[in-house]
Amino acid sequence: MSFSKRMAAGAIVPVFCLPCDGKRHVIRILRRLEGVRVVDTPRHATVLVVAGDVIPQMAQAVRRLHDQLTEPRGIVCWNCKRGADGFNEAAPAIIHEEKSAEEVIVRMHRDLVEGRRPSSPLFGPMKNPVPWQGKGDHGQGGEGMMGGNPYGRPMPMTGGDIRDGLQLGSTSFSLGPFLTWMPPGLVISLTLQGDVIQQISCKAPDFSCLRDVDEVFLLALKKPVPLAALETMRARHHLRAVSDLLYLLEMDSYGFQALELAETAAAGQSEKILQFARKLHRTGLYLWTTGGIGNLPPAAVAGLGPLARAAGLKEDARQTDPAYGSLNFSPLSQESGDVTAVCSQRMAEAAQALDLAGRAGNRLRDPGHPLEGPRGVMIEEKSRTCKKLVEEQAVGMAWDNFVTWLVSLDIDTSVMPSAEDYEKEFRVSAD
């Protein structure tokens, strides 16, 4: 084996993750592993981690993304209840439990690089299935700069810019369902002029079932749960949302610290979070990249929990909950509603939650009262999504600001049905 192969085999494994179960927790687990680096595109990855079962409506996207990995490529399945169906020829490795994840991924990478395992075969065609074809007899002609539909796709036509009506080329495309910074399963269709969003639509229902939230909140809707457990999980949720934003801003070390805090946070440890928040605010890069972006109008974010409070609305279902009354709870809020305010609100609420958890003792929460979840008031395992907010506020935003703002919203669309839901709805057998 050559020296370069030995060096490559010992490197940190670049991994691209597909959260087919609709949850981002696998990406967060992978980010905490030392020998693994989660990358944003499949081209940079050696190993494709497929978390959850691949349902038929996602299969095409999964195959396309798999083919976009450069050779050598390998697949690792995690939490696949139906095993590795659909990947049989690729012979993926399977992660059975979280503590063996790093070992399985690193072994897969080493076997691929050292040639002990063949690269996963391609699913798609090698050549473009649609040749260049114009309208004329010889393949020429048509609309657009070059005529015809080159390789089956039209050229972008001109459109009016919303800023000044200039008729220039507008680019339309769809993003999703698997982008590291977007909620899994969400597909957004955009039209850009330059880098300014002209039109946007999200393929997501208005109300969503909460899949990407801790179990204790779903349990709290039905049964009395300890207040301390509820508030500790609230703090962890907010810290994870902050870490997602920090990773997007390429402040990986701060994102990692936020994730570590999220996993180790315990009742009464609010000072650690406040210290972290102060450290973050002292970095000029954080304030520069998040300040003044996406000022949320209070009317548009009412009922959206921390987003509403970041915009200045002091609404919180815990105000009227008698379990919190004895703890002298009062909601925190910011003023500006920009991304910095949203992030500050999350960290302040996380610190407050740990403080409440430390003083709650054995208090139980009565399920008869409205439950304030980490994304707002929860009603029968559903909460408002931000579909309308995104579609209205994003128009006119520059692309980089839009991405930062969207991640700060921490939206959960849960458009990815689980394998059980899909089978139940369409009566497809497990085979």
Binding site: T41, P42, R43, M58, Q60, A61, V62, R63, R64, L65, D67, Q68, T70, E71, L122, G124, P125, M126, K127, N128, P129, M145, M146, P150, R153, P154, M155, P156, T158, D161, L166, L168, G169, S170, T171, S172, F173, S174, L175, G176, P177, F178, L179, M182, V187, Q193, G194, A398
Partner: protein, 117 residues
Amino acid sequence: MEAFLSILIVAAVVFVSSFSVAWFFRQRDPVKHPWSATLPFLGGAIPPTHAWNQFHMRYYPMTLLFIAFEMEMMFMYPWAVVYIKEGVKAFMEMGMFLAILSLGILYAWREGALRWQ
């Protein structure tokens, strides 16, 4: 003539050797790219159109400012030549000229022409 010949020989050797090395390694390990790999990464979606479109740079305000202050520099070059001979009077006159133009900078600043959009 000999110098040109030697350069030509060196260039030919470099060309031939670099292409030979590239061809040799290409034969040994040819890269196979499927069609999906040639598409831009959109998280699993296929782009509906090509990305060849016109992009307006919107630099008009910056260009106008540049031309205005370029003309200012055009006046300052001959002034710099005679400044030592003319003394304080030349300094005062150029100061007034720059002060008037500075009002233009303040106006452009207020109107947001210096903001990077």
